[in-house]
């Protein structure tokens, strides 16, 4: 039969290619002919046949004469009949989804105008063969989840291309990759004002459990291998541990069926930054699929446009390799392992610094060598119940100098977790689990010293958790979770979570509420780079207790589908977090020190955020978000009175937008992206410091053009930081005297104003609110090869 190719769309797959390319069942045929003569009425005849598989009739198979209009399908008995066929020779083609197409020559003439065929087939077992159903597979789909999940696809991140996923997150409302250090440019991810450690980072649902710099967890996965990034703001499931109260970032990699065979993305900027992403999909065997990714970032030109004698941005040389392997198993059980290795060499400081000055007091620089490896995996046990073992291990080695202050740290984490997924009745979806995390941490600071000798910190953290997702009514869902952990240093930790979701019947309105608590044991050296800058001495006034927080979120999502096919989505969230024992770095009491203590009082982070998403049929897309928040502490002033203070380095307002317009005729897209930040309180150095206490309103805006070609090549280029915004050049205090050699201190260690130092300042790079990188152009090329 000739398939009538009448539609106007571009691609019609020949049936054979579909079946062959998926290596479906092969049919072994043995044909037996039975010829029956019946009186012919005209110049036509007919064919009747039976098709069987393993002796059983094959229903819904197509029987057709190739390149003709004659065709039919088999019935429940596997029987087909093609009638009124003009005399002639035909190629009879039998096909069915899941079976190899077979063909047979048939001649219909006056002599043989009726033919009856019996086609017997055998079936070989393969991945698509019928298998016993376990009946226990039952994850809920994302939007059904009572936990609010935001989805971002690579298309979104490509609107403002940056070297790694960490920086990409700046395009998401409520998520801020915060720069913590003016010289070394390291940072952490803040979700709705909560610090990095409260955010869990996962790859394909497998957590990268890490204390030392989660930032690296987001580097090395080429965007071509990312299917989507899911972001949960607010308390996530207890499954992800007692820390994930701020939110979680889950990077979903492409399935073998949708990943490109090869993808390359090379980008350079007029600042001589150079970035390469490479992704490759390959088979390691009949049943083993592998996704490999490589990221290389290089910036090696010391640049000082603001003339303060310091590099404007940190010089970096970073390579990261990622490989994920998935195994095909019986009953499609899960087994996947991923590994990653990151090496990074970064330094920032006085522009004429070279490695020979490392650690010395002639020229100042912050120089960090990082080596990090990670392994993550998930294995579903080969039993009827759905029990999954997840595991993760990582090692992190940091060798660094902040001026003359060395900081060398090693961290090793091992993590294992069993979860048992069980449906009870129609409305209960139960998840039980147990986890163990072991953390080894050692550095050269007093944090891991005891009575003058080195005492690495070793913490075991066993835990159990239970979660029940209850479908109260079709429109109402409730998720209850409870987790208990035992910290070998700090004792019992209990973290309850509650999530509730209501969906309107037409599914266009969704309301969610969540509440939960979290705790974390802070290691200021691993989390706070300011603690390491040699510029300030670190002081602990007490043994730090774990920080505890309660967080509540309300989220409302509304979708509009307009008559002309346009889409408008609104997503509004209100959040509130209350902290006890908050660990607060005190920069202000003494400009030469950072004093860490548990807050005697409480702290609050609260705010609202709104996201708007427009997709118009004319090719215009707009996403915009704004967050207004207030983060403050109420501290005991010593007399029992609580005094309210605004948190340093935290803005009260942020806005983010991206506007894209496509010209489909010429395959050109234009993107305009930007951020707007409100003032934030900054750490000034005493009452004489002339620098403003609050940062100005500032904005970063970027524009990009992307041209696509039919052969898989995409060329893009544009301008970043169009407004050429950079902080004032005095952001680093006394940049000309980084070792405070010309600073006079009095007997109590306080700075004395002198002619050379009228404002009584010391060298200090912690007054940082925006990157020092001004306007720059960029150009890049992407290539994706699909098989």
């Amino acid at each position: 039969m000739r398939i009538p190719f009448v539609w106007s769309f571009s691609f019609v797959a020949p049936y054979h290619s579909l079946t062959d390319s998926n290596s479906m069942n092969k049919i072994y045929l043995s044909l037996a002919f039975l010829l029956v003569q019946i009186v012919a009425f005209s110049q036509t005849g007919s064919v009747r046949g039976t098709i069987t598989v393993k002796g059983k009739p094959l229903e819904f198979a197509t029987a057709a004469f190739k390149a003709t209009q004659y065709g039919t399908t088999t019935d429940e008995k596997g029987v087909f009949e093609i009638k009124n066929v003009k005399y002639g020779s035909y190629q009879l083609v039998i096909s069915a989804i899941g079976y190899r197409t077979i063909s047979k020559s048939v001649t219909i003439s006056e002599a043989k105008f009726f033919q009856e065929l019996t086609l017997q087939t055998d079936e070989l077992e393969n991945s698509l063969a019928e298998v016993v159903v376990t009946g226990t597979m039952k994850e809920v789909s994302k939007l059904e989840s009572p936990v609010p999940v935001e989805i971002y696809t690579p298309v979104f991140f490509k609107r403002n291309p940056v070297p790694n996923l960490f920086e990409s997150l700046q395009n998401i409302n409520g998520v801020r990759p915060q720069l913590n250090c003016n010289v070394c440019n390291t940072g952490d991810i803040h979700i709705n004002g909560l610090e990095g450690p409260y955010t869990m980072i996962m790859i394909d649902g497998m957590p990268i459990v890490s204390g030392l710099s989660t930032v690296y967890g987001l580097s090395g996965i080429p965007s071509a291998l990312i299917e989507r990034v899911e972001i949960v703001k607010g308390p996530a499931s207890t499954l992800y541990g007692s820390e994930a109260v701020g939110g979680l970032i889950n990077v979903i990699t492409k399935k073998p069926s949708s990943a490109p065979l090869i993808s390359v993305d090379v980008m350079g900027t007029t600042w001589s930054e150079f970035n390469t992403d490479l992704g490759i999909k390959f088979k390691l065997g009949e049943k083993v699929q592998s996704l490999f990714g490589l990221n290389y970032f290089n910036f090696q030109v010391p640049t000082d446009k603001n003339g303060d004698g310091f590099t404007d941005i940190t010089l970096q040389n970073r390579i990261s390799l990622f490989n994920k392997v998935s195994f095909d198993r019986k009953n499609n059980r899960l087994f996947t392992i991923g590994g990653r290795y990151v090496y990074e060499n970064r330094w920032g400081g006085q522009t004429n610094w070279t490695p020979k000055y490392r650690g010395g007091d002639e020229l100042y620089a912050e120089t960090i060598y990082t080596k990090r490896w990670e392994m993550i995996g998930a294995y579903q046990l080969p039993i009827k119940e759905k029990i999954t073992f997840q595991f993760s291990a990582n090692g992190h080695n940091q060798d660094s100098f902040y001026g003359t202050t060395p900081y060398n740290a090693q961290q090793y984490i091992g993590f294992g977790q069993f979860t048992w997924d069980k449906k009870l009745g129609k409305s209960h979806d139960l998840l039980l689990g147990t986890a163990l995390r072991y953390t080894y941490y050692d550095d050269n600071t007093p944090a891991t010293a005891l009575d003058g000798s080195n005492a690495p910190s070793k913490i075991a953290l066993p835990g159990i958790f239970v979660q029940d997702e209850i479908a109260l009514k079709p429109n109402h869902k409730l998720l209850l979770g409870l987790r208990y952990d035992y910290n070998s240093v700090h004792g019992n930790i209990l973290t309850p979570r509650l999530n509730y979701k209501w969906t309107s019947t037409n599914k266009r309105n969704v309301l969610r509420a969540s509440i939960g608590n979290g705790y974390r044991v802070a290691n200021v050296f691993t989390e706070d780079h300011a603690a390491l800058t040699g510029a300030r001495k670190v002081e602990f006034t007490e043994e730090l207790k774990p920080e505890r927080s309660w967080n509540g979120n309300i989220n409302y999502v509304r979708k509009f589908f307009l008559a002309d096919g346009s889409f408008i989505g609104l997503d509004a969230t209100a959040f509130y977090t209350y902290f006890n024992n908050r660990i607060i770095p005190d920069y202000l009491t003494d400009p030469n020190k950072i004093i860490y203590s548990n807050l005697n009082g409480n702290a609050v982070s609260r705010g609202i955020s709104l996201n708007i998403d427009f997709s118009l049929t004319n090719g215009l897309k707009l996403m915009a978000g704004a967050t207004a928040m207030n983060v403050f502490q109420r501290q005991d002033d010593g007399s029992g009175e609580l005094v309210k203070q605004t948190q340093l380095l935290t803005e009260k307002f942020t806005g983010v937008w991206s506007v894209s317009y496509s010209f489909p005729q010429i395959a050109l897209t234009i993107d305009y992206t930007g951020n707007l930040y409100g003032p934030m309180k900054l750490p000034i150095l005493g009452p004489l410091d002339p620098r403003p206490e609050y940062s100005p309103w500032w904005s970063l805006q970027n524009i990009q053009l992307t041209k696509k070609f039919n052969n898989g090549v995409e060329i893009y280029g544009g301008v970043k930081n169009l407004l050429n915004f950079t902080p004032t050049r005095d952001a680093i205090a006394r940049a000309f005297d980084p070792f405070d050699k010309q600073v006079t201190f009095d007997a109590t260690g306080q700075v004395v104003p002198t002619a050379n130092n009228p404002y009584a300042l010391t060298f200090d790079p912690s007054y940082v609110y925006a990157p020092n990188q001004g306007i720059r152009g960029f150009v890049g090329v992407r290539y994706n090869l699909f098989r």
Binding site: S141, K559, R787
Partner: protein
């Protein structure tokens, strides 16, 4: 701030009026397809989507919910709705297909991969057409607007 939040939510609810529901495309459940085909052979339309794909949602609402188009589809076609991340085992033309996990809580359904894979890529939404002899006719990747789908089913 609470007042602002509350009034914002009220505003959103107010905006969220209900749409009038005329005839929309009836989705044939996979488990009922065999019986339907035994009763009457018809061409098939398989709409492959995921619940996180907003363009899929757009097509559901703007294309499949169109009364005129839905009428034609309901009379002449069997339309199937395939969530590519459905974790249930589905039976299609007497063969069973399962969900294939690629990580924890993520994966793709074998049937979506089989039917929707276009040049090595599975993109959402993808609409797959079969003629009444159950032979694959082709697939369209991306949103199909009402006019285009009407033109296709009219032929």
């Amino acid at each position: 701030m609470k007042k602002v939040t509350l009034s914002l939510l009220c505003l959103l609810f107010a905006l969220g009026g209900t749409y009038s529901q005329a005839q929309i495309t009836n989705w044939t459940a996979f488990e009922n397809l065999n019986d339907s085909l035994r009763k009457e052979r018809r061409p098939l339309l398989v709409f492959i989507h995921t619940d996180w794909c907003k363009y899929c949602k757009m097509m559901e609402i703007k294309t499949f919910a169109n009364p005129q188009l839905a009428k034609v589809l309901n009379q002449q076609y069997y339309c199937l709705h395939l969530d590519a991340e459905d974790t249930r085992t589905l039976s299609f033309l007497n063969k069973k297909y399962k969900f294939k996990p690629s990580g924890v809580e993520t994966g793709v359904h074998e049937l979506a991969e089989l039917l929707g894979n276009d040049k090595g890529k599975l993109t959402y939404p993808t609409t797959v057409f079969f003629d009444q002899n159950l032979q694959l006719q082709g697939r369209i990747v991306g949103v199909i607007d009402r006019q285009r789908l009407q033109a296709i089913v009219a032929k």
